[in-house]
């Protein structure tokens, strides 16, 4: 996977999380994962298509997802959630959509042409996301609500 792909995701994640949640965010060290991986409990996934194929996965524990969704809802004067209900899931997928959208926009301006597909969300305690056969780069982000791992796997088409 080309390194150029990853920075826009790191920057967008940082910017969007900061803007939407108004909290301090600490970027962790990037690392590679090559096999299929168990996820933390809640995973929002967005597909990429065009010059490349791949996907971006936003992985976090259920407790973190509930706290993040609640903070986003409360910033709009809406009720916080206690369980990861439909509104909670919609909130997390929209967060993933905003981060990926901003990253894809940045990449587009650098000359990489691709688009995103509507997000989906998976929850479960013992979930594994199937191996895409592509190495994934992980961007960990530490928030006061817990950790989000942004897992980016992109392969060029030829």
């Amino acid at each position: 996977m080309r390194v150029e792909y990853i920075n826009p995701f790191v920057e967008s994640a940082y910017n969007v999380l900061k803007e939407v949640l108004s909290v301090e965010i600490v970027r962790g060290e990037l690392y590679l994962k090559s096999t299929s991986m168990p996820v933390l409990g809640v995973a929002a996934i967005i597909g990429l298509a065009g010059d490349v194929e791949g996907r971006v996965l936003f992985d976090m524990s259920k407790a973190t997802a509930i706290k993040i969704a609640s903070a986003m809802l409360q910033s709009m004067e809406m009720e916080p959630i206690e369980e990861l209900n439909d509104m909670g899931k919609a909130t997390i997928t929209e967060l993933a959509n905003m981060i990926t959208g901003q990253a894809v926009t940045k990449l587009h301006n650098l000359g990489f042409k691709f688009d995103l597909t509507p997000p989906a969300i998976f929850t479960g305690d013992n979930m594994e996301i199937a191996d895409t056969g592509v190495e994934a780069l992980i961007v960990p982000m530490d928030l006061p609500f817990g950790k989000i791992e942004i897992n980016v796997a992109i392969r060029e088409r030829n």
Binding site: E19, V20, M78, T91, M98, T100, G101, V104, T105
Partner: protein, 145 residues
């Protein structure tokens, strides 16, 4: 019974969502995210707009517009959606009503997408994340065009 006297007016400013004829602007919100639909709805209703419909994909958006027409003043249109994307839906709405007021609201800010939407007749293009001020400003700009 409550009368108008029970609500002392703090300022006399006209709410943004009310037209010069005293009627609320009627809005159709098209977005596949329940969160965003609620967010936009909240911002608009707090300014006196009336949300007359919501749709969760482009096809549903086009169908709702045709059903509501002519009793709809404004459409907010997401781009990345299942079944039919927002740019295609914009094109179809403009074919049906060349005076339709459609505002794109997307997480994608790619130049070619913005250009294409404006060429097809969108009045404005708002890039997410959304905030109240940004949404209202752009919408008011589009209504006065």
């Amino acid at each position: 019974m409550k009368t108008k006297q029970d609500f002392p007016s703090i300022n006399q400013r006209k709410a943004d969502g009310v037209g010069s004829d005293g009627n609320a602007y009627r809005v159709l919100i098209v977005d596949d995210s329940l969160f965003v639909t609620k967010q936009i709805g909240q911002i608009l209703t707090s300014e006196g707009f009336e949300v007359v419909g919501t749709a969760s994909n482009g096809q549903e958006g086009v169908d709702s517009y045709k059903e509501l027409y002519p009793n709809v003043d404004l459409v907010t249109m997401d781009i990345t959606m299942p079944k039919m994307d927002g740019v295609t839906a914009l094109e179809k709405i403009m074919e049906f009503d060349k005076n339709a007021r459609v505002i794109m609201i997307s997480a994608l800010g790619k130049q070619d997408l913005v250009k294409k939407s404006l060429m097809l007749g969108a009045r404005n293009y708002i890039v997410k994340p959304l905030d109240r001020k940004k949404v209202l400003e752009r919408i008011m700009m589009s209504l006065s065009k």
